[in-house]
């Protein structure tokens, strides 16, 4: 999910949808469904992340299974670790 110009778009494998809700509303509704806020503009599906790697300035880059790269802001990295370690594995 990406917030651009006060609009929120959801990207699936083949389509793009515009959502009526705000990004933070989506984040609150679906945080238990393995969606994670990785920056001010993005919410990503943890099940679609292939790998993460560190990049410049303490941020991380998440590579999704479809090849897309999404930046994880440094402030959200501890939250990501907390979410993953708290998940039922």
């Amino acid at each position: 999910m990406e917030a651009v110009d006060n609009k929120v778009f959801a990207y699936t494998a083949k389509k793009v949808y515009e959502l009526k809700c705000k990004l933070y509303e989506f984040e609150m509704l679906y945080e238990n469904r393995r969606f994670f806020r990785c920056s001010k503009s993005f919410v990503i599906n943890l099940m679609k992340i292939g790998s993460v790697r560190p990049i410049l300035n303490g941020r991380f880059s998440a590579t999704l299974f479809n090849g897309e790269e999404v930046i994880i802001s440094r402030q959200y990295v501890p939250e990501l670790k907390k979410r993953l370690l708290g998940e039922d594995i």
Binding site: S51, I55, V77, L84
Partner: protein
């Protein structure tokens, strides 16, 4: 990044910088002037250099998300300002006396800068490894 998170990052970097500066002073001192003797006030110099080194870090701070190019530009600006401040301080404190001293000192500063960034990178790589391992388990991948 919030200011609080940035200041916390700066505090961690301060200790890494101070340790690297102490090591650099020891190595340079042993190479260039092994017979030198210092009083207790010499123990303050890594702490002071560490603090001066931290001030230019505010160049890299931004509440808004920076693009890769913006982050890179700020990083380059950071090292330039850092070198200028430390060399300036070196001349002001009477530690440096000419171009040769300044050049050598500048290279030492750059090496410490690389070491600090490398150590931070290693911590981040370790975090990334843990995250990737947990993601694989979560997703049921081997």
């Amino acid at each position: 990044m919030s200011l609080k998170a940035f200041l916390k990052k700066c505090l961690m970097e301060y200790f890494i910088i101070t340790t690297c500066v102490t090591a650099a002073i020891a190595i340079l001192g042993l190479s260039l002037d092994p017979a030198a003797k210092f009083g207790y006030e010499a123990y303050f110099s890594p702490l002071v250099f560490g603090l001066i080194s931290l001030v230019p870090s505010f160049i890299t701070y931004s509440r808004k998300e920076l693009s890769f190019r913006q982050a890179l530009v700020r990083k380059v600006l950071h090292i330039v300002v850092l070198e200028a401040m430390l060399i300036g301080f070196g001349f002001w404190a009477g530690i440096l006396h000419g171009a040769a001293d300044a050049s050598f000192f500048g290279v030492a500063v750059f090496i410490v800068y690389l070491a600090v960034n490398l150590i931070s990178w290693q911590f981040d790589k370790k975090d990334a490894g843990e995250i990737n391992k947990t993601l694989k388990s979560l997703q049921g991948r081997s």
